[in-house]
Symmetry: C2
Subunit: 394 residues, 2 copies
């Protein structure tokens, strides 16, 4: 009855659902504060109060719930372009911005616009697994690039994986699940390799940067604005994390004027928005993000969470790299089979996602967008957990 | 650079954009009240004031902008199920309802869930042309069924067009562009043919009913609730027209428990919602439609518009069927080439959409969701137009 491709997805989904149900069961049995659920990337910080104020203000607009152009309100797009220009010394205007139904919607719109069947799309390990589904939606082929022990892309592998079928590369900066931020140096290397290969194969290769965590960075680290490093770039952004409004599905796509065939590309993105059934990003929320364009939730809570979790885990004897951004910590599993590690951890009411779910076995992802109290209470449990593992290894 | 399929769409789109730009130019030149723009199906009636009240009330919910299940809030889905049960004597509960990003989003989600490449999907002429794009998104094949002079489906053609590759049929009730409502009798005939063919080919064939105009009907006519007539039915609904909030992208999908492989189907719909990048229907608006579940805008304005337009056109000597629902009138072109007719009409500042855009040449669509004054002022122009046509024919 359902499509063949969907049958496979339904099968896999039941595994995820089982995990989720098990988590709910644990909470019921032990109480919310005694289950250390690090599995979900759901913002724990409240939106700034400006969001609800902006919603009420936006109701004063005439025809505030009516259709607009598929690309979104022109005044909203201008405000966003100006904000980017102020913050990143770019040179965008309204025509470079297309409002989207979050970053997930934005990525689908972009991939629909550019992918022909069997085109290759490169992703960098570790990566958000949903990219696989997005690429497959348009019959693209997923090509994975290895990373080093710091989760930086292996540039030799990257260069080798580019073929005359490569249509795009998707990067996620800051990265889910690793928490690293690709530096100017890394971006420059990626751009140089792409420029060389574009000339070698005489074709355009898009660098798509998925940036829902752009504002969630620590210790003054800078996330390079990618359009300044390479021309054939598309940025996909979401307000889900910066304003803690993931349920509202609002974001935007940036296509710089310097991209090859800019006019066709921007029109394709607008048409894809329509024919994939998004039609336009939610009207009211477009006005809201324009009114909150330079605001974020109080990110300092995530920094505090990161510090408590990272220091706690290190003190227990776990190995991990200190996250530079996003709200994930990617920890080395103390045993080779990280799925087995997650299973043992569950006995201590600790829930984590195996690295295999990000094409990176041997690691586990901890989402620390949760209550500080839960993080604090989890540390003694992590200690007990690693001690059991050590015994088990002897 | 952009995909091959997209190149074709960009080319076609420039024709539509040209028409739209031309309309804007006319308004600039002659003033809004002197351009008779019947081209856009954009609700002219204000939303009921309850919508904005419900938005403000919904802000009181805890975590009102957070993620929820891909299928939507459980309490909202229960409220919608109960409303349908009250109104249509159905027997739904929460599990039968999946919230969607409007009807366009809902249709894409449904088609993604069921279509394998080269599956055939039947549409009934005249039909909303966007169905073509939606079906093609999932590599389905579009099969058109002819209609009679009342825009009722030709049942013999319908039966003949069903093959062992038929996966679904999409109907739109009330119909855009014809304004007709398929009666119980018509629905029963469709259901009988589908049941016979399901048994002949030993497979399930879905009847997908796209119902954004369900509440916009006149003269007490009834729109049959399709799940009561056939088991393998999926209803796609949007609040865009009933509450005049098309920019907000909110609707739902109904899958009755009686559908074959119900559990798999409902899970496929939920997964498609996620992987197509909708993730979930906008959070705030879910709460809003639950609070407005049995309300509509003041539909009586559309009825008044319909009557003035229909009576005016008949008095001028045009041929058309009185619309029973939606806000479209599908008029016979007084000359064979309806595109030529639209071109001549433009000299009188009258803008209409050629029937070819709905696979039904020889007719033109007039959207009467516009100011009454514009409709009234247009009638003398329509008179002049038909007189020029008559001269031209002599």
């Amino acid at each position: 009855m359902i499509s063949k491709n969907m049958k496979e997805l339904v099968k896999n989904n039941s595994v995820i659902r089982e995990m989720f149900e098990e988590g709910k069961k644990l909470v019921k049995q032990y109480g919310k504060d005694n289950v250390y659920d690090f599995s979900l990337g759901d913002p724990s910080i409240e939106p700034p109060s400006n969001v609800d104020e902006a919603i009420i203000e936006s109701l004063n607009n005439k025809k505030s719930h009516a259709y607009m152009s598929n690309s979104g309100y022109e005044d909203v797009r201008t405000i966003i372009a100006n904000s980017l220009n102020r913050r990143f010394e770019t040179n965008f205007d309204m025509k470079n911005i297309i409002m989207s139904v979050g970053a997930a919607g934005g990525l689908n719109v972009v991939l629909k616009s550019i992918i022909d069947p069997d085109d290759e799309v490169i992703v960098l390990i570790p990566y958000f697994m949903e990219y696989r589904n997005y690429i497959k939606n348009y019959n693209g082929k997923i090509i994975e690039v290895k990373c080093d022990e710091n989760f930086e892309p292996d540039m030799i592998d990257f260069e080798n994986k580019i073929t005359n079928k490569t249509k795009a590369i998707i990067i996620n900066n800051p990265n889910n699940p690793s928490g690293i931020v690709y530096s100017k140096n890394t971006i420059n290397k990626i751009a140089d390799i792409l420029t060389k290969k574009e000339s070698e194969y005489n074709k355009s290769i898009y660098l798509i940067s998925d940036e829902p965590y752009r504002e969630i960075v620590y210790d003054g680290i800078e996330v390079p604005y990618i359009t300044k490093y390479y021309n054939n770039t598309i940025v996909v952004y979401s307000y889900s994390k910066s304003l803690s409004i993931p349920g509202e599905r609002i974001g935007y796509i940036v296509v710089p004027t310097e991209a090859d065939d800019f006019e066709d590309l921007i029109e394709a993105v607008s048409i894809s928005t329509r024919i994939l059934g998004f039609v336009n990003a939610p009207a009211l929320l477009q006005r809201v993000v324009a009114k909150c364009v330079d605001l974020t939730s109080d990110i300092s809570e995530y920094k505090r969470n990161r510090d408590v979790l990272y220091n706690g885990l290190i003190s227990c004897g776990y190995e991990c790299k200190k996250p530079q951004g996003a709200f994930y910590l990617f920890m080395k599993s103390p045993i080779k089979d990280e799925k087995e590690f997650c299973k043992i951890a569950k006995k201590y009411n600790i829930l984590m996602v195996p690295g295999s779910s990000f094409a990176c076995p041997g690691y586990v992802r901890l989402a620390y967008c949760t209550d500080l109290k839960i993080i604090e209470n989890s540390i003694p449990k992590f200690k007990e957990l690693i001690e059991e593992i050590k015994k088990y290894e002897k």
